[in-house]
């Protein structure tokens, strides 16, 4: 995966955008930095297909070392596909965070939400300077 093809939320979700008959489909996952920080993962659960999500609002949850955390949607849209294989293969998050470990695909309904996402360089800078949110 060419990291420069991805966009990033301040909350450590990555986004890969693809055109689909004039609509934008956002594939969403967690960054390697976030996964590394989380340590041993025990659960991951996301909202189901058809759920409307808003940028900055929770779309799922993840548990590690007895800590439950929300995952935040990077865009406004509707979830059109959930990676159900991931639930039982959390090791994929470490093995292939930007590939097989995608979490949901979202049909973007408001493209202005995309404009608030960070480039790879800007995200890397955030990680170095602040550690993120």
């Amino acid at each position: 995966m060419d990291m420069n093809q991805l966009l990033f939320a301040e909350t450590h979700e990555w986004v890969h955008l693809k055109d689909d008959n004039g609509e934008k489909i956002a594939t969403v996952g967690l960054t390697a930095h976030a996964i590394d920080q989380l340590g041993d993962l025990t659960f991951l659960e996301s909202a189901t297909e058809g759920t409307e999500v808003s940028a900055g609002e929770p779309f799922g949850e993840i548990e590690s070392v007895k800590a439950a955390s929300d995952m935040y949607s990077p865009v406004d849209g509707v979830i059109v596909e959930v990676n159900r294989d991931l639930t039982n293969k959390l090791e994929l998050l470490n093995a292939d965070p930007y590939g097989d470990a995608w979490i949901v695909k979202i049909r973007v309904t408001d493209e202005t939400s995309i404009g608030k996402l960070l480039s790879y360089d800007a995200y890397q800078k955030q990680v170095v300077e602040h550690g993120g949110h």
Binding site: L38, G39, E61, K66, A68, E91, H130, G131, H133
Partner: protein, 261 residues
């Protein structure tokens, strides 16, 4: 990390026993308040009646696997981990600002609270206690081999005495704040008879009231905040009380929340 070592003001609430639904709604409201204000709050409470709390990700149906607690009220926590039978125990909740929710540095809050508890137990009772180092089972998720009860599981930083776990904590992390719950098992309950408590393991007589008082003081002292004792009752009769009522209805008092998994 900023916040952990910097002394700042916080609030200390020592509440009377309450129901599981009430206690969880108060903690959630305090977490949301902390996210808005940045104010740390340390709260102590007990549960009346005795209540089973499920970890956030635990299946509701799993409570059938534990007959002694089957008929006590049940509530689902927002924090992770295993089920806890809250009867003869002391619960603390801590809400603190959270600048990087993924960071493992947040385990330092567990380490700090558990360290304070170890100091008090050793001083007050002489019972040898220590931090657990590793889990004896896989960390790949909850499966048939994972014990239902939190106190039958082992995670790094649990407080143990020999093969008995006496204190466990778990967290819920939002973007701007985290909630840490912890349970200190004081004595064996008829609803979880397989779990001896701290007082059951002591060879000498220990005054439970004094012990609880010392635990509260030491935890507050070791967290690095300047805690101002405050009246929960006064807080809950304000705007926060309205939010607690709403959270009760929408979440912890709702069957759809409790039985969501």
């Amino acid at each position: 990390m900023a916040g952990i070592d910097s002394a700042r003001r916080g609030y200390l609430i020592d509440d009377p026993p309450g129901s599981g639904v009430w206690n969880m709604a108060v903690d959630q409201a305090l977490l949301e308040r902390c996210e808005q204000t940045g104010d740390p709050v340390l709260r102590f409470y007990q549960w009346s009646p005795a209540t089973l709390s499920l970890g956030y990700f635990q299946p509701y149906a799993d409570r059938k696997s534990h007959p002694p607690s089957y008929h006590v009220p049940v509530v689902r926590r927002s924090t992770g981990g295993g089920a806890i039978l809250h009867d003869l125990e002391l619960t603390y909740s801590l809400v603190v600002p959270n600048q990087s929710r993924w960071s493992p540095v947040h385990q330092q809050w567990v380490k700090r609270v558990h360290g304070a508890i170890i100091d008090v137990i050793q001083t007050e009772t002489g019972l040898p206690v220590t931090l657990a180092e590793a889990s004896p089972w896989s960390s790949d998720g909850e499966d048939a081999t994972t014990p239902f009860l939190c106190f039958e599981r082992r995670s790094p930083l649990d407080v143990i005495s020999g093969r008995h776990k006496l204190v466990g904590s778990a967290q819920r992390r939002l973007r701007g704040a985290l909630l840490q719950h912890g349970s200190i098992l004081l004595a064996q309950s008829t609803f979880a008879p397989e779990l001896p408590g701290l007082l059951d393991l002591c060879s000498s007589t220990v005054d439970p009231s004094r012990l609880a008082g010392q635990l509260k003081c030491q935890i507050a002292a070791d967290l690095g905040f300047e805690f101002e004792p405050t009246s929960g009752e006064r807080w809950y009769s304000s705007e926060l009380g309205d939010r607690i009522k709403m959270i009760t209805v929408e979440r912890f008092g709702s069957d759809s929340w409790t039985e969501r998994r």
